[in-house]
């Protein structure tokens, strides 16, 4: 069963959390630390095993687990991954492991609860990326808030309660609007097909009337835009980031913010293609405002961590701009930027955390000449800063370049404005580097700072390696993203690939599940599969736009010899 590995990757952290909660008393701090670290590292290694046997040329779901859960209302336990989910899972487990390592000495109180919440958070985030049932997706989406709330609320800075509540309520308001949108879709599905289902793949086949698409898109938009966060919904972010402990900041920036962008890609675009086209200009404008506004505000910050937080707003603007360029280059760029931002901004938060742990201040003006005292630290910071800036040869460049190309293709004016974000990023990051790293060593306190120890180096060094690798050789990542990205674009802009002659894969479908190399489909659901297959066939027949390229592609998939035997 290929689904088992994915289940393990998702739920291992939660199992670890339960084990720690039940088996280890809170005085055994070092053992708790070790168990938590082992769990999260094993999880990372397991997530890399997902690559083995993964079909990178397919847009279909793989590592599928599917079972009936609450059939009365059409809820399924349905998990699987495509290329997009795969990369985001690896991002989550790798950054998770690094975030855990960064807390070894940073967190000194209530160790047990801390690691329990951190582990639960991992499972919550991983669950979002693998769920293909709206109900399940929503559960993970919400469950994730609870541990993050505690991480900020218990181990945060001075205004932590305010920041934690603001974070929770802001995202919750977005989520409930998303919930209503899901329910509206659900009843529409019932009205059209007569079945109660929350299987997301079924909705990929559904043609939603334009009017409903608009409303549902708005509901999704609030849910996702608050999470991204897009301007003007970003105000919770600086508070949450500045107050959160380093590990929570890293995870918040690297993974949690990606949820919103992931939602746009996974749900808004393929389920609501027409509304996505209609709303694209609005979202592009909001993204450009976020890019420039975030950068300008970042430049004004006196607090190191707020500077990084606002730079995050700016960079996330690039991601939404890339997504809503609605072409393969832009979307791919957006996805690459999601990974890049996780690495770079995660790294920047680690850098701040390391210095805060030593000096208990984050005021930029308090530092000067750190580079002379802490050369290793300065070098690693320089690499991460340059990657965040988008220097060619590092990861940030690939994402931003593709996004700008995509935006230019969609509307040259967008690209013109967005490119200022790159310039401003260089300005605020280089200026930051100059103020804190260069110059004379200001006082004895700074002169006495210790450079990074091995553990600390090991939190930053892997990020630098990843940044360089992604910058120099992004081909495997681009190839992994290509099939799902093309499938989504084909759904949003049917016929986009007709001229270029590229054969486009179709979006994953329930019918396609049995065609993937190793189906993890439960036998009792096969009847239901056949039913939906029939229905999706009729859907295709009624489809006004002929999917020529994909239909050419299909017979080969059908003829796949590895299908029959497993049933």
């Amino acid at each position: 069963m290929s689904g088992t590995l994915l289940q393990l990757v998702v739920f291992l952290p939660a199992l670890g959390a339960i084990a720690i909660a039940l088996l280890l008393s809170k005085e055994r701090e070092n053992e708790i630390r070790w168990v938590a670290h082992i769990v999260v590292f094993v999880d990372m290694v397991l997530s890399l095993f997902l690559l083995r046997g993964f079909d990178f040329t397919s847009a279909e779901l793989q590592h599928v687990t599917r079972a009936s859960w609450i059939p009365t209302i059409g809820v399924e336990y349905f998990m699987g991954i495509d290329g997009i989910s795969l990369l985001l899972i690896i991002l989550t487990t790798v950054l998770g492991a690094i975030a855990f390592m960064s807390s070894w000495t940073y967190i000194t109180t209530r160790i047990k609860e801390y690691y329990v919440f951190l582990l639960l958070l991992q499972t919550g985030m991983l669950g979002v990326f693998v769920s293909f049932d709206f109900f399940l997706f929503y559960i993970f989406w919400e469950v994730m808030l609870v541990p993050m709330y505690f991480l900020i609320g218990i181990w945060g800075g001075k205004n932590r309660m305010y920041a934690a509540i603001k974070f929770f309520l802001y995202t919750l308001f977005g989520s409930v609007l998303m919930l209503l949108a899901i329910l509206a879709l659900y009843f529409h599905m019932h009205a059209v097909t007569g079945t109660w289902t929350l299987n997301i793949l079924e909705y990929y086949q559904l043609d939603v009337p334009a009017n409903l698409q608009w409303w549902v898109f708005l509901g999704f938009f609030f849910g996702f835009a608050i999470k991204v966060p897009m301007w003007p919904f970003h105000t919770w972010l600086p508070d949450a980031h500045v107050q959160a402990p380093t590990a929570a900041s890293v995870i918040l920036a690297a993974v949690l913010l990606k949820m919103g962008a992931y939602g746009f890609i996974r749900l808004s675009l393929p389920v609501l293609p027409d509304a996505s086209i209609d709303f694209a200009p609005l979202i592009a404008v909001l993204s450009i405002i976020a890019i420039i506004y975030g950068a300008l505000v970042a430049m004004m910050q006196k607090d190191w961590k707020s500077l990084v937080a606002y730079s995050s707003v700016s960079h996330m603007g690039f991601i939404t701009l890339g997504i809503f360029a609605l072409n393969p280059v832009g979307l791919q760029g957006g996805l690459i930027q999601m990974l890049s931002h996780g690495i770079s901004t995660g790294g920047l938060f680690l850098v701040v955390g390391l210095i805060y742990e030593r000096t208990h201040t984050r005021e930029i003006a308090a530092f000067s000449g750190l580079g002379k005292v802490m050369p290793v630290y300065a070098t690693l910071f320089a690499i991460i800063m340059l990657s965040s800036m988008g220097l060619p040869g590092l990861n940030g460049f690939i994402g931003e370049f593709l996004i700008l190309v995509g935006a230019f293709e969609a509307n040259p004016v967008w690209a013109y404005w967005a490119v200022w974000g790159v310039v401003l990023a260089a300005a605020y990051l280089l200026w930051l580097f100059q103020r804190v790293m260069l110059g004379e060593v200001k006082d004895d306190k700074i002169a006495g700072l210790k450079d990074l120890n091995l553990r600390e180096t090991m939190t930053l060094a892997p990020l630098c390696v990843l940044a360089i690798w992604m910058g120099l050789y992004p081909k495997p990542i681009l190839e992994t993203l290509e099939p799902p990205v093309n499938a989504i674009i084909e759904r949003v802009q049917p016929g986009y690939f007709a001229e270029s002659g590229i054969s486009t894969p179709r979006l994953p479908s329930v019918a396609g599940l049995s065609r993937t190399a190793e189906p993890g489909v439960d036998a009792d659901l096969l009847v239901a599969d056949e039913l939906t297959e029939q229905r999706s066939n009729t859907d295709t027949a009624n489809d006004p736009v002929p999917l020529t390229t994909s239909e050419q592609n299909e017979p080969t998939a059908d003829a796949d010899p590895s299908t029959g035997g497993d049933h």
């Binding site: 609450i70 929503y138 559960i139 505690f150 309660m161 308001f173 409930v176 009843f187």
Partner: protein
């Protein structure tokens, strides 16, 4: 047969109530003999045994009777159907949990045990009849039996001024609403000439009376009285005082079971008797629902006394449950039923956790009393976290599924604005639920607060906590049960 006023199947249909009556009499009579020599725990055992026997009778005798095609008993006074069974089961369950939660509390409060359990059992009999009455008269009798018992229970701690005040307020406003209710029923009878619900529906069904002004007045008064009973705004004023003044286990019992019984009666009258008038009452209830949940949540935001906070929260929850009544149809009804089922566990759990706390030897009822609970007892704090998340509709809890289903029903029936208000309210409500969470898990414990555990209370909390999670993970049987219950109409 004609000479007999009732048949043996009537007695079978009434068996849960009969068993409870016997139990109540035993408790009262035994308690009147020299109570000083008796162990107070015995009365709890007898009550619990009669509640469980009544539940068994419901399951083993009443349900098969309904399945065999019998629909009413006692000349159409009592309905024998899945709807009645569903609510009866909820009330019996709540009573069982409330009895378990009461034992230690009564000891600590130095209150008399026998009368307390007697009142709880008589209230329970009233509730069962409210859920199962098929005639306006039997429903009213059930309502009064329930209400009169509960008034006394709220004021049970005679020495406590707040308890007495709560009881008196509840009695005066409850009496007023009962008066309005019986007046509405008499008007209905004047217009239609019948009191049986099915006959009422048949009379109203032909539409000849649709424009009758007296009928409209009767409907309006009826809705006012029902809104009183479920504590919907603007007829909620008794609830915060009654709930916060009542002994905590009584508040637990009435905030779940009395509210549920009022809902059962409301659904029975509206759907079974006044179904033909649905367009009229649905619009009124939609407005009441929106105001109720909004006001309940806004008022709860600023409370520092946790019992008052939960009182306002339960007002808000009545507003949510009304969404399903408004949406109507099989889905809407099932959503309300499932929500009340879910509400049972999360609310019993939340009230039960309050009973763990004791400040300076007195029952703790401030949010501050929760400070540092997590460091004293992971289990208590973890369970309370679940109950609060469930009340706020956050997964992985049954409350989440309940809200999902309710909002879905509203959207499916076209009440999108109501679903929107409900969803925004659910999000806003987290603000005050989180205040308790903050106290429990983030703040440091205070010295003068102690935990009072007792095995029965822990059992109540454990059952509630398990069901709060299980209700989502293994939701199918409960959902299907609620859906089957709606087929009665």
């Amino acid at each position: 047969m004609d000479s007999m006023p009732f048949s043996s199947s009537d007695l079978v249909a009434l068996s849960p109530e009969i068993i409870l009556t016997i139990g109540a009499m035993v408790v009262l009579l035994w308690g009147s003999f020299d109570s000083a020599r008796q162990k107070p725990g015995n009365f709890a055992y007898i009550s619990l045994a009669s509640v469980l026997s009544a539940a068994a009778a419901l399951w083993l005798w009443v349900s098969p009777l309904a399945a065999s095609g019998v629909t009413t008993a006692f000349s159409n006074q009592l309905a024998v159907d899945g709807f009645g069974t569903f609510f009866s089961a909820i009330f019996l369950l709540t009573a069982a949990l409330a009895i378990l939660a009461s034992t230690r509390f009564l000891d600590d409060a130095k209150a008399h045990h026998p009368e307390y359990y007697f009142l709880m059992l008589t209230a329970l009999i009233g509730m069962l009849i409210m859920a199962r009455g098929a005639d306006l008269i039997s429903l009213f009798v059930g309502l009064e039996l329930q209400a009169l018992s509960v008034y006394v229970m709220v004021g049970y701690l005679k020495g406590d001024r707040r308890s007495a005040e709560g009881g008196l307020k509840y009695f005066i406003l409850g009496g007023l609403s009962s008066g309005i209710f019986i007046y509405a029923l008499s008007l209905l009878y004047a217009v239609t000439g019948v009191t049986a619900l099915d006959a009422l529906a048949a009379t109203l069904g032909d539409g000849a009376l649709a424009a009758n002004p007296i009928l409209m007045i009767a409907l309006l008064l009826l809705l006012v009285a029902l809104a009183f009973k479920v504590a919907a705004v603007p007829f909620h004023l008794w609830a915060p005082d009654a709930y916060s003044g009542a002994p905590t286990p009584v508040a637990l019992f009435i905030s779940v079971a009395s509210k549920g019984a009022a809902f059962a009666m409301m659904l029975r009258i509206l759907y079974s008797g006044l179904g033909p008038l649905a367009p009229s009452w649905a619009a009124v209830l939609a407005v009441i629902s929106a105001i109720t949940m909004t006001f309940g949540n806004v008022a709860a935001l600023s409370q520092t006394n946790i019992k008052r906070m939960l009182a306002y929260s339960s007002i808000a929850h009545a507003g949510y449950a009304l969404i399903g009544v408004v949406a109507g149809g099989e889905t809407g009804l099932a959503a309300t039923l499932f929500y009340l089922f879910a509400y049972t566990f999360m609310n019993v759990g939340a009230w039960g956790t309050i009973m763990l706390l004791r400040r300076d030897g007195l029952a703790g009822d401030q949010i501050d009393d929760f400070a540092g609970l997590g460091q004293r007892s992971y289990w208590a704090a973890g369970a309370m976290l679940l109950f609060l998340l469930s009340l706020g509709g956050i997964p992985p809890t049954i409350g989440f599924l309940g809200k999902w289903y309710l909002f879905g029903a509203a959207i499916g029936a076209g009440w999108v604005w109501l679903a929107l208000i409900g969803a925004l309210n659910a999000a806003a409500s987290l603000y005050y639920y989180l205040r308790i969470v903050v106290a429990m898990l983030i703040r440091e414990p205070e010295d003068n607060v102690t935990l009072v555990n007792s095995t029965p209370l822990n059992l109540t909390l454990a059952i509630s906590a398990v069901m709060t999670v299980l209700g989502l993970l293994w939701a199918t049987p409960f959902l299907e049960w609620a859906q089957r219950a709606t087929l009665s109409f």
